[in-house]
Subunit: 351 residues, 2 copies
């Protein structure tokens, strides 16, 4: 029986991005099913060489893939701050309508958390971050720039269409988990217009999910619960900006940014979804084989799950979990490559 191979676009990017992606692909190869892989050279280096960030022709090509794996982009010596974020990362999210930004916050056994007295099982959260709206719309402007009378505005744009689809996704996610709890995180007492839309939509969709327990927490209070009472959360649905903030905090709580995976997902699969570690390109440690590729490898697991290879995704997750427990046993300081080798070997060995 021959199965169609999966078409994967890979954007290693800059700095440690290229290093961790190498290990991610190593693990992907160990998984078994064949992937048809095309590399794309995008990021600070490409920009410095050619002035190009994401040519329309490349965007059009990317559209033809089943999924995208991205390492990390950025290098302050080569590209103005914010440019790659907006014209590459956010552009892909918007053009491919990645309205679900899925970020698990799970403390795996053996992993050290900065929190005292927090058993691993207390931190098992899935954050469903909206990916295409609110302040990320990028609208706003500046008048009287550079004068004492300058005014700079940013607009948060929220639509019923945009909010409802991500809220629905989150309810379905919560329904499928054992605890079946969904918390809306927002700042409804200050962002009254957007907050009201979110709250009304959340309450309305909730009626269709009578088994899901619902809760509301302001973003400021949510940061407190993340460190004091993470067990309060199961699935969280939130706005683009609040999701950005809370998932970085979540990454720290769950053992650090070296372990945090994410998926920029179009659930209808009308476009390729993009998977990437939450961390950046870390130019300061680039090329030293110091980066932990685990976040990328866990992003590969999310990718496998998304393209219908749930069993293989579970294998990768198990291999990572086993590797993390071993670290506790004193596996010591391994290089980026050694960690990738070890996890790939476990995957190949069926562990």
């Amino acid at each position: 029986m021959e199965s169609r191979s999966i078409r994967l676009a890979v954007i290693p990017g800059d700095g440690i991005g290229t290093e961790v992606v190498t290990e991610g692909l190593k693990v992907l190869e160990a998984v078994g099913p064949k992937f048809d892989i095309t590399h794309y050279d995008l990021g600070a280096d490409r920009y410095a060489r050619t002035g190009e960030v994401l040519p329309d022709s490349v965007l059009a090509e990317l559209r033809g893939f089943d999924a995208i794996l991205l390492g990390a982009v950025g290098d302050p010596r080569k590209v103005p701050p914010g440019l790659l974020e907006r014209d590459l990362l956010l552009r892909v999210r918007f053009e491919f309508d990645h309205y679900v930004n899925l970020r698990p916050v799970k403390l795996l056994p053996g992993v050290k958390t900065p929190l005292a007295d927090t058993p691993a099982e207390n931190v098992d959260i899935v954050v469903v971050r909206e990916g295409t709206e609110s302040l990320y719309a990028g609208t706003g402007g500046t008048m009287r720039k550079g004068t004492p009378y300058e005014v700079a505005t940013q607009e948060s744009i929220n639509t019923a269409y945009g909010v409802e689809r991500v809220v629905r996704y989150a309810f379905a996610k919560a329904q499928a988990r054992p605890r079946k709890k969904l918390t809306l995180v927002h700042k409804t007492n200050v962002l009254t217009f957007a907050g009201d839309l979110w709250q009304r939509t959340f309450d309305r969709v909730a009626e269709e999910y009578p088994e899901v327990t619902t809760d509301y927490v302001h973003i400021d209070a949510a940061t407190i619960f993340f460190v004091n009472q993470p067990e309060r959360f199961d699935v969280i649905v939130t706005d683009n900006l609040f999701g950005d903030i809370i998932t970085d905090l979540g990454a720290a709580v769950a053992g650090g940014i070296g372990l945090a995976a994410s998926g920029n997902i179009n659930p209808e699969r009308t476009t390729p979804s993009m998977f990437e570690p939450v961390h950046g390109s870390a130019p300061d440690i680039a090329g030293q084989s110091k980066a932990d590729p685990t976040a990328t490898i866990l992003s590969v697991a999310m990718l496998l799950d998304h393209v219908g290879l749930g069993e293989q995704a579970a294998h990768v997750e198990q291999a990572v979990a086993a590797d993390l427990v071993e670290r506790l046993g004193g596996a010591g300081d391994r290089t980026t490559r050694q960690i990738g080798d070890d996890i790939a070997a476990r995957v190949a060995g069926g562990a």
Copy 2:
């Protein structure tokens, strides 16, 4: 020698607000100098009884005081969500131009932090949160409300005038501290218009403070550093919304919301500044004498400092510090009143 007594308006508010304010005033009395105190009945109860939140006549009266002490307002059974926040708390901040929202994040010896391996001296941060601009402007709107085509917007309004004055305040604060370090926290890579104004203003004012070391951290990364590396920060200056979020996280890190004090300050003293604990009215534990009045007592210390009684402020802080060390020694579960009595006794006793 007779000194003019200080005119203080007190708004106990709702829930535990009234309990903690009683203890705050007890400590104030123990301090020595006479205060001329007027109580104002504002909050959920007043609203439920009269439909009034903050009558213009009361606002006009408040303007005549030297300072305001607020407990906490709100009760979801009596008032719609967000109403008191906007029409009382935020209205006072805006009407009295409280452009500095000062929030110390200091882990005192003896206090338990949720962070493992974090010595108290590593957490000694002052957050200078802008108090009158950005998304708190409250502008925005809703169209096609309740339809599948609804659009809800929020506007973040930032002015050179508003940003520069709070940045200047923060530089002066940093200059006066031993480490002399100031970090701008924002999200300049996404909020490009507002971020650019903040960054340019910050860089320009920095030139006048050559001794102050400056740094920039994105709000998402800042939440990571708050739990992994709090010693990275000395003074932080940030936008209204980011300041709201990071100071709640800071409160958690520094031992919990029961200890977090704040001042809504007009540095030019053209209006009374308002001091309040960061916590809310906690209707769930109201009337049970379970609330920790320490945050309010520390807010009283900030108030004393603001009205020129720096020595007395230091006494109160020392008394709180001594009380906190004693808790570690097993002072056990005291009531709200007992904690207030103990701290007041220390203040009166000159400790």
